[in-house]
Structures are given as structure tokens and as C-alpha cells.
């Protein structure tokens, strides 16, 4: 249960660079891997003017790919998410291993039908005749002052869909390893990049490595309470754990890493030892990954618990624009500390 998923290297990369390296290494390994999306190179079709890779992606995660692999395998698309996501799914079911990039998860509405009704269901509906090795890269996270249509963290929607897998890396090491697994996986996987993590650095092995899908990891062992973090919220949990340590409280921090499958067993095992649970989730609170984990622990770990399972999440509102409002919206260390104190001291 206490599998250590941690890097054994001193080489540092940014989260953004780790994603880029994973894509490059998989494209080098497998000629069937292609990537398509809006602005992934930028300035498409202007090679005659000496323009290639004008942008390298809206967040520079795909920089340098087109020079390495050419425009056959690195395809800028028109602004037509339904068409190119559906095309990637069709290509996945006929022998390629495509990656498609949806610039922000908020835009999923325009292509959700292809994900929900084709990618997720084809294998089942067709009686197992087809594999859909399709990776959807997309972005989550508030805190950029970009307001409600560029800031959501709606991974819970995907966790809800049978047939879809999803991962939520919180650091460069897991970003690379989970993306390599996502690309190699024979099922549709959504890879959620948190926008605020792009400049973060951390140790990343140079050689390709795969972190298994569906596994959580303990990033800080502890005995007094279990804090489960999802994506960037794992860093908030670690920050809270550090402060609690100063107060003599020993929190265990679990990095969920995967929102489908969900590693319920690791969380239950942790709660069996700590007797208390707080799930910290930047997504909204209803029908969410956080509420699902709390429900599973209440259902299967009722006897372990000394206090009700708790969530610290965004409120049931869209993401607001103005800084103070956005600040209130995003779960932070203070909110986590408040809930932990309440659980440990009864108020």
C-alpha cells in the first residue's frame, strides 16, 4: 500500500517541459502517435515565409514538436473541436494512437458528444471489437484571472463517464510518467494539466517511464489525519501538513493522481490508520471526485472514522473574475487548516 512513486534523479524540469518531453519521447518511440489541436505549432501553413512553430502551444507544452516530427504528425487544426476530437477518436479506432489537445477544459461542451458517445462507448457498444487509444490533453485551474470560461477544473465530469480514464498530475515527475502511460494506454485517457503548475520545477528522470493509471501515492506519511489532494490541491495539502507539523500534528498526504480509475483502497488504508479524512478538490462540490471519495470512505470505512469525512472544494459557483473573488473561490491552506483543526479538536 505504501508504494513509493517518486523520482530517483537530480535533473530538474518544469512541469511544462516534462509534458513536452513525454510527448516527444512517445512520438519517437511509436510512429503511430500523432498530435493535433489548436495552436500546437502555430502559424500553420506559413512555411514559405519561414514561419514554423509560431507559438508551440498556447502554453508552450508542444514547442519544438513540428520541427522534430513534421506537419503530418503534428497537426494544427481549425477551431473545430468537435471535428478534430472526433477525428482523433476515429483515427484511434483505425490504427493510430492520437493525442488531441483541447485548449481549456471549459471548451469541452463543443466536443463532448464525441467524447461521451463515441470515445467512451464504442468499445462497449461494439462488443469489444475496437480499441480507442486516444489521449485528450486539456487544462484546468483557476488563479489566472481568466474568469469563468477559462478556469474550471471539471475533471469530475469525466470521472463520471464509464469508458473514460483520467489523470491529474501535481508535479513534473508525475506529469511525465502519467502522460507516457496515458499515451501508451489502449483506452481513452484525459490528461488534466493545471495551468498554474507549468513553471513549477521538480526532479524528472530523462529516460521514459510510466506511472500506472489508477494509482494514488502517499507523498507525506502521517498518523493523525489523511489529506487527499487532487492536482494542484496536493500542494495545498502539503503546505497544510507542514503547518500542522509545527503544531505537532502529523498529517498523511495522499496525491490522488488518477480520477478514473480511483485508488479507493489506498485512501481507505490511509484512513484506517489515521481515522480522519479531508479531501481537497478545486472542482465544485456536488457529484464530484471529492464527494465520491467521501462517500466510499463513509460506506466502506465507517468503522475507521472518528469524525465525518470532509471536503474542502470550490463553491457551487462559476469561477469569478475579480482577484478577491477568485481568491475566495480556490481552496487554500487556511481553509484546509480550519477544517483539520475542527476535526482534530472538535472545533
Amino acid at each position: 500500500m505504501t508504494t513509493t512513486i517518486a523520482p530517483n534523479t537530480t535533473r530538474e524540469l518544469r512541469y511544462r517541459e516534462a509534458i513536452n518531453e513525454a510527448i516527444i519521447q512517445e512520438m519517437e518511440r511509436d510512429p503511430d502517435v500523432i498530435i493535433m489541436g489548436e495552436e500546437i505549432a502555430g502559424g500553420a501553413g506559413r512555411e514559405h515565409l519561414g514561419i514554423v512553430d509560431a507559438w508551440g502551444g498556447a502554453f508552450k507544452t508542444t514547442v519544438g514538436l513540428i520541427q522534430k516530427f513534421g506537419s503530418q504528425r503534428v497537426k494544427d487544426t481549425p477551431l473545430s473541436e468537435a471535428a478534430f476530437v472526433g477525428t482523433a477518436i476515429g483515427a484511434a479506432s483505425t490504427g493510430l494512437r492520437p493525442i488531441a489537445e483541447l485548449m481549456f477544459v471549459d471548451f469541452v461542451g463543443v466536443c463532448m458528444d464525441q467524447i461521451l458517445n463515441n470515445a467512451a462507448k464504442m468499445r462497449y457498444m461494439y462488443g469489444g471489437q475496437v480499441k480507442v487509444p486516444f489521449t485528450l490533453l486539456t487544462r484546468i485551474g483557476a488563479g489566472t484571472g481568466s474568469a469563468a470560461q477559462h478556469s474550471e477544473s471539471f475533471y469530475s465530469i469525466f470521472s463520471h463517464i464509464p469508458g473514460i480514464k483520467g489523470v491529474v498530475p501535481c508535479d513534473p515527475y508525475t506529469a511525465k510518467g502519467l502522460l507516457i502511460s496515458a499515451i501508451r494506454d489502449d483506452d481513452p485517457v484525459v490528461f488534466f494539466e493545471h495551468k498554474l503548475l507549468y513553471p513549477e520545477t521538480g526532479p524528472v528522470p530523462e529516460e521514459p517511464y510510466a506511472i500506472p493509471l489508477g494509482k494514488a501515492r502517499i507523498v507525506k506519511p502521517g498518523a493523525d489525519i489523511t489529506l487527499v489532494g487532487i492536482s494542484k490541491m496536493t500542494l495545498v495539502c502539503l503546505e497544510a501538513a507542514e503547518k500542522l507539523q509545527e503544531e505537532g500534528l502529523n498529517a498523511e498526504v495522499v496525491d490522488l493522481m488518477s480520477i478514473s480509475p480511483i485508488d479507493y483502497d489506498l485512501v481507505l488504508d490511509s484512513v484506517r490508520r489515521t481515522h480522519r479524512l479531508v479531501v481537497v478538490d478545486e472542482d465544485t462540490p456536488r457529484c464530484s471526485v471529492a464527494s465520491d471519495i467521501c462517500a466510499a470512505v463513509a460506506d466502506e470505512g465507517f468503522d475507521y472514522l472518528d469524525a465525518p469525512p470532509k471536503k474542502v472544494t470550490a463553491p457551487h459557483t462559476p469561477v469569478p473574475y475579480s482577484r478577491p473573488l477568485e481568491g475566495v473561490y480556490i481552496p487554500n491552506c487556511d481553509r484546509v487548516m480550519g477544517v483539520v483543526r475542527e476535526l482534530l479538536t472538535g472545533g
Binding site: 468537435a82 493510430l96 462488443g127
Partner: protein, 335 residues
């Protein structure tokens, strides 16, 4: 007519198979009170028949909710299709899909589809695979006059044209989206007129005349295979029955109109022309009719005698790999 007798017979067999599958099969399903929406394509046989005659098993098609004809024309075994409609484990999809999801990847049949126009980008994706791998296959996206107004179709036509992919967009304009007449819902006079907006040929075809469809499709497939990009074909046709097997089409269309279109029946038009031109013998066509009727009755017998899926099949093939526990957890399942 530059088709050899074998090719002509093949067209006829396909059309008669579709007609019998739709008329006998669906009637028998009704008799057995089998569930679900089933959409008959009787009347529209010339379209998939004329198009798919140009394709091999390695070419792909993506189909619609009214897709039995596409499956048969692409070579899917009617016996396995019937078993699928009857929910049997011997069906094309092991009883997991039913009429609106019939697929046979070994025949390049990427699935009938229950969401209007949703399968269109799948055909574009198959064309992309062919284009990147350089294997020369073409693909066909079938859709109806209802699907003609879906955004994903328009995005897909634009994308396929920008990337010059080897794909045919084939509109089966059967005059109605459920009960809504095409002249009400379509802003243009013809779906084919919209080809110009995507810089591809938009070809209007008599969808009741299998020879006309065959000729137009031949040019479009040739264009696709030679790397010149996609074509939009609009085949004007007619469905003889309701939207599903449950509705009465007389609630929205006239007897006069139905009589007109039945007067242009694709199977009868084929017979008249081939017999008048002395290309085939009536006795041969009659024997094919009898043979196909028996084939469909055998398919029904096969479906009837086939086992239903075991209950724990509910968990299979959701993913290639996933913990079983993750499918059952929290659901209080009994198996």
C-alpha cells in the same frame, strides 16, 4: 451500361438483401416484442449499394441510426446483424449494441450510430489514418438530411477539405428528419449546394437509381484515392416506413407522395432497366429473390436459436483494462 453481369447481380443481391432484412426482419422483431428503436431503411437501398460497391473490406464507412443497409452493403453478415437486433451473444456486437450500434471492424464498418451526424468525424479519422499511413483506403461518412444541419458535419467537412483527406460525405436525403420535412429545415435548396462552402464538389444524385449512385460514387472514390480530397454527394431518396417502427408516417406525409416515390422503387427500377436492356434474365432475378428471402429467414432462425448474453457480460469491454472493482464499487450489484 458498362457493368459486367456479375457486378449487376451483386448490386441486385445487396438491394434485395437490405429490403428483405428490413421488411421481414423488423416484422419478426415486432412479432417477438423485441425492444428498442429500430429504423428501417427500406426504400433507400440504392444509396449504400451504389456507394459500397466501390469499397473493399479495408475501406471504412461510418453510419447512422438508419444503418442496416450500410452494414449489409459493406459486407456484414445479415445473420450476425439479426442476432444483434435480437440481443443475442452471437450478434456482431455480442448483444451489447443493437440496431443503432452495429459494427464489424473486419469489414470496415465503423458502426451505426445513435446520435445524428456523430459518426461523421469517425470516418474523417479513418481517412486520416489512411493518409498518415499511406495505405490508400478511403472512407465514407453517411448522414441524413437531418444530420445535414448538425455542426459537427460542417466542422468535419471543413477539416477534411483543409487536410485533403480521402473521404466521401454522403447525404441520404430521405426527405424527413423524424417528421420534419427537409424543405422546412434546410436553408439551402439542396444539401449538395453546401459543398461549395467547403471547396469540394457537391454532387446531386438520384438516390433511387443505383446506377446513378454507382457512377457518382465511382468518381468521388477515384478523386479521394488519388489524393484530391473529399466530395459531398447528396442522394435524394425516400424511406418507405416511419422514422422508427412505431410511428405512422401518414401523420406528416401524403399518400400521393408515398405513391410517387414507391413508383420509383430502386429494386423495380433496376429490374426494369436490366430486363429492358437485355442485361439480365427475369428468371435469374426471381431466383435471387427467393434465395435472399430464405437467407433472411435463416438469419431469423439463427438469431432465435442463439443464446442471450450471460449476465456478467455487463462488465466486459467497458475498457481494455480497468479494475473490475472500479466498475462495481458503490453500486450494490448482485453479480
Amino acid at each position: 451500361m458498362d457493368m459486367d453481369p456479375q457486378a449487376l447481380i451483386s448490386l441486385y443481391r445487396t438491394m434485395v438483401t437490405i429490403r428483405n432484412f428490413e421488411e421481414i426482419g423488423i416484422y419478426e422483431m415486432g412479432q417477438r416484442r423485441l425492444s428498442g428503436s429500430v429504423h428501417s431503411s427500406a426504400g433507400q437501398e440504392a444509396v449504400p449499394t451504389g456507394i459500397c460497391a466501390h469499397l473493399t473490406d479495408s475501406d471504412s464507412i461510418a453510419s447512422t441510426h438508419r444503418g442496416h443497409g450500410h452494414c449489409i452493403a459493406k459486407g456484414v453478415d445479415p445473420k450476425l446483424m439479426m442476432a444483434e437486433l435480437f440481443g443475442r451473444v452471437t450478434g456482431t456486437n455480442k448483444g451489447k449494441g443493437g440496431s443503432m450500434h452495429i459494427a464489424d471492424m473486419t469489414k470496415g464498418m465503423l458502426g451505426t450510430n445513435g446520435v445524428v451526424a456523430a459518426s461523421v468525424p469517425l470516418a474523417v479519422g479513418a481517412a486520416l489514418t489512411s493518409s498518415i499511413k499511406g495505405t490508400g483506403q478511403v472512407s465514407v461518412a453517411f448522414f441524413g438530411d437531418g444530420g445535414a444541419n448538425q455542426g459537427v458535419l460542417h466542422e468535419s467537412m471543413n477539416l477534411a477539405s483543409v487536410w485533403k483527406l480521402p473521404v466521401l460525405f454522403v447525404c441520404e436525403n430521405n426527405q424527413y428528419a423524424e417528421s420534419t420535412p427537409v424543405e422546412y429545415a434546410l436553408s439551402a435548396e439542396n444539401v449538395a449546394d453546401r459543398g461549395v462552402g467547403y471547396n469540394m464538389p457537391g454532387v446531386l444524385v438520384d438516390g433511387m437509381d443505383v446506377f446513378a449512385v454507382h457512377e457518382a460514387a465511382g468518381a468521388a472514390v477515384q478523386r479521394a484515392r488519388s489524393g484530391q480530397g473529399p466530395t459531398l454527394l447528396e442522394c435524394k431518396t425516400y424511406r418507405y416506413y416511419g422514422h422508427t417502427v412505431f410511428d405512422n408516417p401518414r401523420s406528416y406525409r401524403t399518400e400521393e407522395e408515398e405513391t410517387y416515390w414507391r413508383g420509383r422503387d430502386p429494386i423495380q427500377l433496376f429490374r426494369t432497366r436490366t430486363l429492358e436492356e437485355g442485361l439480365l434474365q427475369a428468371s435469374l432475378l426471381d431466383s435471387i429473390d427467393a434465395e435472399i428471402e430464405q437467407l433472411i429467414r435463416d438469419a431469423i432462425k439463427f438469431a432465435d436459436e442463439s443464446p442471450l448474453p450471460p449476465e456478467d457480460d455487463v462488465y466486459t469491454d467497458v475498457y481494455v483494462e480497468y479494475p473490475l472493482d472500479g466498475l462495481r464499487r458503490g453500486a450494490s450489484m448482485t453479480i
